[in-house]
């Protein structure tokens, strides 16, 4: 079933106007809509400044608590990317994606934000999630360096910071998310149009769902192994690759959906996939392992999405349309479409109490990165804070 987006943009726009009059870009410059007593603590990775920002959002709005430098190379931009907090809340983890050549997962404690350990992973490790059951961390090795080759998901034992497995996956895997039980990990393969399910307990891919007709088939993987492309490309013996003019990956079709993130599974047994390259959000039924609904013609570039714990609402960033959407999943309608204050909305996380959605905003060039908060009920922006450049990965640490 395809459902066309029914956007209720007016309230969002009004909210923007109100917000703008209060003061754009000032931390705590918003009058928080509706009394709220809780304070939410988040970590946000600023990819272009190699820092992780620790912020809070409470009755007084946003506050910056700390800016923690990460990475190992002071004169190179190493790109902190994915963030996760251990289930007990005592540690946070960040992938630093660039490397020589392999990226690194760092571990810090949440009490003092001090370094606890690190481990090398694969090429350009990006998004991460931790199984609340096993305690193992799953990092999608995105391999943004350009070669469109199947990559892997690294599995890390986080007490000893040991990589215990690399699970083969699709091309440019991204959007690592875990089910509530911690038994299944989901990610998408951006350049091979796939949703992949990893059995956490078995540390292997349990299901692959092609999201378009251009996704490589399982037969294709069986036949080609890690060589989805022509022999020259998989041959890293060094020389030449002379026949490259005019394109190199004849065996691989271009992706149609370009999925970037999968949501965590909802209690209703659904997963939502952001079709970044096709302005679609796909609903996947976990039991039938099929796409059951498609929200067509969303704003451009749906990128990251999260769902409320009751599975009734979804919040999504639209990278290309400078907007954030909130969807009623029962109706299949977008109830709010809120232009962001700066371009390139990136990360999306909903507070554990389903009250707020927090979107990280990259900005462009020298603009600061930022985080915006939205009330999930009113669809209004209720806060904004400027952070270091290219805010990306975002995670809620705790709420009090």
């Amino acid at each position: 079933m395809n459902t066309h987006a029914s956007r209720r943009t007016l309230p969002g726009l009004l909210a923007v106007a109100l917000v703008a009059s209060v003061g754009i870009g000032a931390a705590g410059g918003y009058e928080v809509v509706g009394a709220q007593e809780r304070t939410y603590y988040l970590y946000v990775a600023a990819e272009s400044e190699d820092v992780v920002e620790k912020i809070s959002f409470g009755p007084g709005g946003f506050q910056k608590i700390a800016s923690i430098p990460v990475g190992v190379f002071p004169t190179e931009t190493e790109g902190p990317h994915g963030l996760a907090v251990s289930p007990d809340g005592e540690y946070w983890f960040v992938t630093v994606a660039h490397g020589n050549p392999f990226g690194i997962l760092f571990k810090y404690d949440t009490a003092t934000d001090t370094y606890q350990g690190d481990v090398k992973l694969g090429l350009f490790p990006a998004t991460i999630s931790i199984s609340p059951s096993t305690g193992l961390l799953f990092a999608a090795n995105f391999n943004l360096h350009g070669d469109h080759v199947p990559s892997s998901v690294s599995v890390v034992e986080t007490e000893t910071m040991t990589e215990v497995a690399q699970i083969p996956t699709g091309v440019m895997p991204h959007g690592s998310r875990m089910n509530k039980a911690g038994s299944k990990q989901y990610s998408v393969a951006m350049m091979s149009d796939e949703l992949r399910e990893i059995d956490v307990y078995r540390m292997e891919t349990s299901r692959v769902l092609p999201l378009s007709e251009n996704a490589p088939s399982w037969m294709h993987y069986q036949e080609h192994g890690n060589g989805l492309m022509d022999e020259n490309m998989s041959d890293h013996s060094g020389m030449g690759h002379g026949a490259m003019a005019g394109g190199s990956h004849e065996a691989m079709k271009p992706p149609i959906i370009k999925p970037t993130w999968a949501s965590p599974p909802t209690p209703q047994g659904k997963i939502y996939v952001a079709g970044n390259g096709s302005a679609r959000i796909l609903e996947v039924d976990l039991e039938s392992w099929k796409v059951t609904r498609t929200f067509e013609n969303t704003s451009k570039g749906p990128y990251n999405l999260d769902v409320t714990s009751d599975g009734k609402q979804l919040a999504v960033t639209y990278k290309s349309d400078k907007a954030v959407g909130i969807w009623d999943l029962e109706l299949g309608e977008e109830t709010a479409n809120i232009p962001t204050l700066r371009p390139i909305p990136h990360g999306m996380v909903i507070s554990p109490d389903n009250r707020y959605a927090f979107a990280s905003i990259e900005g462009i060039g020298g603009e600061p990165g930022s985080v915006e908060a939205y009330d999930m009920q009113t669809g209004e922006r209720v806060g904004n804070i400027d952070l270091a450049k290219q805010a990306g990965g975002i995670v809620v640490w705790k709420m009090q």
């Binding site: 272009s48 002071p74 931009t77 020589n100 943004l144 307990y201």
Partner: protein
């Protein structure tokens, strides 16, 4: 990590899996029927394996009633998989290690691998078992004294070279090695294996590692040396000059004793000896000597009881020159990255500078008058860092790199700079195919761009039509974990900087190995044990005929002064100089190392044999690299000049952080991270002319 499945489950899996568009396994089918009551038992809880040895685990899973489950589903993983692996229940030892853990488990809901540091916690779960594997360091299998001399003479010394290997065949450089002599009155041997031959006679030298020994019987013959003759290539030298010494042992009849080993040593008294100047230098085993300090140096050649000596006078190299500041093109609101200076088709001189971690700007400067450098055009691209900027040989096409693009496609941008005065820089095309990770460095050579995205390879992109760039080739090493940082092309050879893999030379048309941009051919690579190779610049020395490779490090750490947040990074590293006349035989012969600072980019003026180094917090360094290079050029006083670009209004005030140098038409341009573009020049020494044009052309 492997698993066993019920045959039925496999059948189900295969049936479903061969759908061309979808495959799905049956994740629940192979679990124990009642995992909560099941129990896993394995027959191995601790095991000791030698390197290369394997052991098979027998696992038994019983259900709640104690019945054995046939072919149960199990997973295994190693907590030290680079040392010990596990596949299909077979443990294999790769490398030594103590008490490494392998986990075996029956997958079940709520499975918890936390507390893996606590074996008791694992033991408490009946469905998870741990195997502790110890792979002892293999015993020493062999000790060999390599290629000892055939003849031994009393009164001489011989350094014994040894190789120790263990039972796995691995060389053990860290193994404790002892030496002994059966007759200390004939031969003594030092703990490190230097043999002092004291008197004629027989002795057996024993090298021992572990319980293995190598016995070397020697016959020490009377030393027939009646005299030693010593000659030198020069009697006077400057610091840094390599003086060659030749020693000949002669018998009583004046005959030459060709097999007589001769050792060299030197004694020094520097001109500032009484001021505590210790003096230093270097003499190689083949008699090449270089002094670091001015003074008198006495070189001794010893063969038996006979010694010859020569004293040479060493004067200061006296290459110091003053630097004159010509101008600063200040960039103070953002960090500056690399630069390129060239003469445009209109005869005027131009420069382009990039910006780092900012807003994607590249600045085009008219530097015809270096005392009045002016930005004449600014290009802003979708990026945060324009790390590298290059211009083609004709001065008409510029290429700039992109990192931090909002669409993450990055790549590079090609610009027409043929008429900067009237048209400015005009973007002709963008190229980002498979360069999405961010292009860090580029080079333009004969209508091709060599571009790398800080990954593992560089791409070679044809820009004969700059509006239609297309990749024609690429180069990538095949070493484990290889990585690349930069590439420089000259005379048909591409020299890439590859961190631990060192400098790699690749024939793309000038290496006589048939290489082309479409089909590059590797020529050789230098060792680089510190793993910091960041830049490379070839140097064909006119004064010696030698081919040197200048390799630059990049290493550092963030500032760490308590209470001072604005501290720039503390960079480290030095310049490595390789003599590389044969592609398969590079030898690191010299270094240039400024203490307390770190290197970045370099440039060699071959005509004047001058090395320019951007030394981060050490500013601009100008180094005399004329003549043979040996030892530490910094200590030898080969530094001609240095300049610290302080700018009180800089992006970080008064914090020199020099990024890249380029000599051009007798001036030196350089980019400084915190203060922008600078032009300086070496003041002529009295009675001398200024440095000639050092530009690429």
């Amino acid at each position: 990590m492997q698993r066993y499945r019920l045959a039925l489950a496999l059948a189900l899996v295969l049936t479903v899996s061969f759908s061309p568009l979808s495959y799905a396994q049956a994740p629940e089918a192979a679990q124990a029927s009642d995992p909560a009551a099941a129990k896993l038992q394995i027959d191995i809880s601790q095991i000791k394996l030698e390197v290369g040895e394997t052991a098979t685990i027998t696992a038994t899973v019983t259900d709640a009633d104690g019945n054995v489950i046939e072919t149960p589903e199990l997973i295994y993983f190693s907590m030290a998989r680079r040392n010990v692996g596990i596949k299909d229940g077979v443990i294999e030892a790769y490398r030594p290690g103590e008490e490494m853990r392998i986990i075996a488990a029956v997958p079940h809901d709520g499975m918890n691998f936390r507390a893996l540091r606590n074996p008791a916690a694992i033991a408490a779960n009946p469905l998870i078992q741990m195997i502790t594997v110890t792979v002892p360091t293999p015993p020493i299998a062999d000790v060999t004294i390599n290629d000892p001399p055939e003849l031994f003479y009393s009164g001489t010394r011989v350094v014994l070279e040894t190789t120790v290997t263990d039972a796995s065949g691995a060389e053990r450089t860290e193994a404790e090695l002892t030496f002994d002599s059966s007759d200390a009155s004939v031969a003594r041997v030092s703990p490190s294996g230097t043999l002092s031959l004291l008197a004629p006679g027989n002795a057996t030298i024993v090298a021992k590692a572990g319980d293995k020994t190598h016995s070397l019987p020697i016959e020490v013959m009377a030393n027939g040396t009646a005299s030693v003759e010593l000659t030198a290539s020069a009697e006077d030298a400057r610091t840094g000059d390599v003086v060659r010494f030749w020693a000949t042992a002669r018998d009583a009849n004046g005959g030459t004793l060709d097999s007589m080993p001769v050792q060299y040593a030197f004694q020094t008294r520097t001109i500032n000896h009484e001021l505590g100047d210790p003096g230093s230098g270097m003499i190689t085993e083949d008699g090449r000597f270089v002094a670091d300090e001015a003074g008198e140096y006495t070189i001794f050649a010893m063969a038996g009881a006979h010694t010859a000596s020569m004293t040479i006078g060493v004067t200061n190299r006296d290459v110091k020159r003053e630097i004159e500041i010509l101008g600063q093109g200040a960039v103070r609101d953002r960090a500056t990255s690399d630069l390129w200076v060239w003469e445009g088709p209109d005869g005027r001189d131009y420069a382009v500078t990039g910006t780092h971690n900012a807003d994607g700007h590249a600045y085009f400067w008219d530097v015809t008058d270096p005392r009045n450098m002016q930005i004449i055009d600014t290009i802003r691209v979708d990026a945060r860092t324009v790390n590298d900027v290059k211009v083609n040989e004709e001065g008409t096409i510029a290429v700039i790199s992109r990192e931090g693009a909002s669409n993450r496609r990055n790549g590079l941008v090609i610009l027409d700079v043929s008429d900067l005065q009237n048209k400015g820089a005009q973007i002709l095309s963008r190229y980002d195919d498979e360069l999405t990770g961010g292009v860090h460095n580029v080079f333009v050579y004969e209508d091709h761009v060599y571009a790398l995205s800080a990954g593992q390879r560089y791409d070679i992109i044809n820009i004969e039509d700059p509006t239609a760039p297309h990749r024609v080739g690429r180069f990538e090493l095949d070493t484990p974990g290889h990585s690349i940082h930069d590439v420089w092309v000259t005379d048909g050879i591409a020299y890439s900087s590859n961190w631990l893999d060192g400098v790699v030379a690749v024939d793309i048309g000038g290496g006589d190995k048939g290489g082309t941009p479409r089909s590059p051919v590797m020529l050789g690579k230098t060792p680089y044990p510190n793993g910091w190779n960041h830049a490379a610049f070839p140097f064909r020395s006119k004064s010696t005929g030698k081919f040197y490779m200048i390799g630059g490090d990049e290493a550092g750490e963030r500032g760490g002064t308590p209470g001072y947040d604005g501290e720039p990074p503390r960079m480290q590293g030095w310049i490595h100089i390789f003599e590389w006349d044969e592609w398969d035989n590079p030898t690191e012969v010299a270094r240039y190392q400024v203490p307390e600072a770190g290197t970045h980019n370099v440039w060699v003026d071959e005509e004047n044999e001058i090395l320019y180094v951007a030394y981060y917090q050490g500013g601009l360094r100008v180094v005399d690299i004329s003549g043979e290079l040996l030892g530490d050029l910094y200590r030898q006083g080969r530094e001609i000049a240095y300049f610290l670009p302080f700018d009180p209004d800089g992006f970080v005030p008064n914090a020199p952080f020099t990024w890249g140098p380029q000599p051009f038409k007798g001036n030196i341009f350089f980019a400084d991270y915190h203060s922008g573009l600078w032009a300086v020049r070496l003041k002529p020494r009295e009675g001398e002319e200024g440095v000639a044009d050092g530009s690429r052309d």
